[in-house]
């Protein structure tokens, strides 16, 4: 069984090589071996014996792809992921304009908790501090993970920019990365339930425990129409929203407000929560 960190390393290694031409060695300078900067492991085979990217090599690569549906499927999935990341990037480019509309000045300096500190400030929010030692308390780890995820989603793009190699937070990098997902349509969220993935949770659109308490049958609660796979940190945010006292409901939490209410009202609110938390495309 792979640990999260090993799975992450494998994913990263795949990402580094999947767009590399088989004849990439042609682009290395002949004296690469003598250069000071080479501190890495022994060179891989493709450097010692570069493959010419000939028509025959291309045809062979194509044959290999066609004969392995899993590889084709993985390549399509990779392309879709790239597209989603691009969409997320476009989505992330909106907030500063909207915040300015609210009278918010992004250049105003603030401390780590978001309070004004009276200084001049820079254009970007400060990178959250990640302690070297793993905090022993879950609440502290959660605070750091969420801050890093939010910061990466809003300002940094690739999560690697925020995290030092070897940091304890790598345990949660899948969840941090998943937090950057662009909203998807409902069919995508439903069908993803069949493909468990690190950093994601299966979420009940109509809350499971309260629906069971109110007597709704298990086949409705755990039915396909009620399940979606969503980023874990979004799952936490939506669950917290359900449990938090709100002025909207005269001081009740949404969960208390929905007690004894119809399935359709719960479902409508559940879908709305997904949209408004940036998980489901409107």
């Amino acid at each position: 069984m792979l640990t999260d960190r090993e799975r992450e390393a494998a994913w990263l290694s795949h990402q580094q090589t999947r767009l590399m031409r088989p004849d990439a060695a042609r682009f290395l300078k002949p004296d690469w071996r003598d250069r000071k900067y080479w501190n890495g492991p022994p060179p891989p085979d493709w450097i010692e014996h570069p493959l010419e990217w000939t028509a025959e090599a291309q045809a062979q690569a194509a044959r290999q792809l066609i004969s392995s549906p899993d590889v084709v499927k993985a390549a399509i999935e990779d392309a879709r992921r790239d597209l989603r990341e691009l969409r997320a990037l476009i989505h992330r480019s909106r907030p500063l304009h909207l915040l300015r509309k609210a009278g918010y000045d992004p250049n105003q300096s603030r401390d780590e908790r978001g309070r004004w500190d009276g200084g001049g400030g820079g254009a970007d929010e400060k990178k959250p501090e990640i302690p070297r030692e793993r905090p022993t308390k879950a609440r502290e780890r959660n605070q750091i993970i969420k801050r890093v995820a939010r910061w990466a989603a809003r300002f940094a793009g690739p999560v690697g920019l925020a995290i030092e190699a070897g940091s304890w937070i790598y345990e949660d990098i899948a969840a941090i990365k998943a937090y950057q997902d662009a909203p998807r349509n409902l069919d995508e969220l439903h069908s993803a339930v069949d493909e468990p993935r690190a950093g994601y949770d299966v979420h009940h659109i109509v809350e499971k425990t309260s629906a069971a308490r109110d007597g709704y049958p298990v086949d409705m609660i755990d039915g396909r129409d009620n399940l979606v796979r969503i980023p874990r940190l979004k799952h936490w945010e939506i669950n917290s929203w359900y449990m938090t006292a709100s002025k909207d409901f005269d001081g009740l939490s949404p969960r208390e407000y929905l007690r004894n209410r119809s399935w359709s009202e719960r479902h409508e609110i559940g879908l709305r929560a997904l949209v408004l938390h940036g998980v489901l495309r409107p």
Partner: protein, 124 residues
């Protein structure tokens, strides 16, 4: 969580500052997934709002100053507390938070706008 001082003895500015501090604590507790603490702090915010409302003419409009606070949780709580005294500005602030990508506040702001529209949320 700190106990609230006697609110009746506080100046308007002190009440506004307490309101912002409590909303910031809420943000921190939300990050820690400690919803029980978030809920206790909710009732402290309600107490400050009630004190402002009870002072002669309704003084909740003093919370409008928090619309420029850099923290989204503070802006969100200030907007919801001023819906009666400044409905247009408060709704605009909620819209602005809902359209941002500052989660989870964007989610709560959007939900409040929807609840206002459908009459579930009736600010007093």
């Amino acid at each position: 969580m700190k106990k609230l001082p006697d609110l009746k003895k506080l100046s308007l500015n002190q009440l506004v500052n307490h309101f912002a501090d409590i909303a910031l604590q809420q943000h921190s507790e939300l990050d820690a997934n400690d919803v029980a603490e978030v809920n206790k702090l909710f009732w402290q915010l309600e107490a400050i709002e009630a004190e402002l409302k009870a002072r002669g003419t309704d003084q909740r409009d003093a919370l409008l100053a928090l619309y420029k606070h850099p923290n989204a949780q503070v802006r969100l709580k200030a907007a919801k507390a001023t819906l009666t005294v400044a409905p247009g500005a408060a709704r605009e602030m909620l819209r602005s938070i809902a359209e941002s990508t500052e989660y989870p506040q964007a989610g709560e702001a959007g939900m409040s706008l929807w609840n206002l529209e459908r009459g579930v949320f009736q600010p007093t």
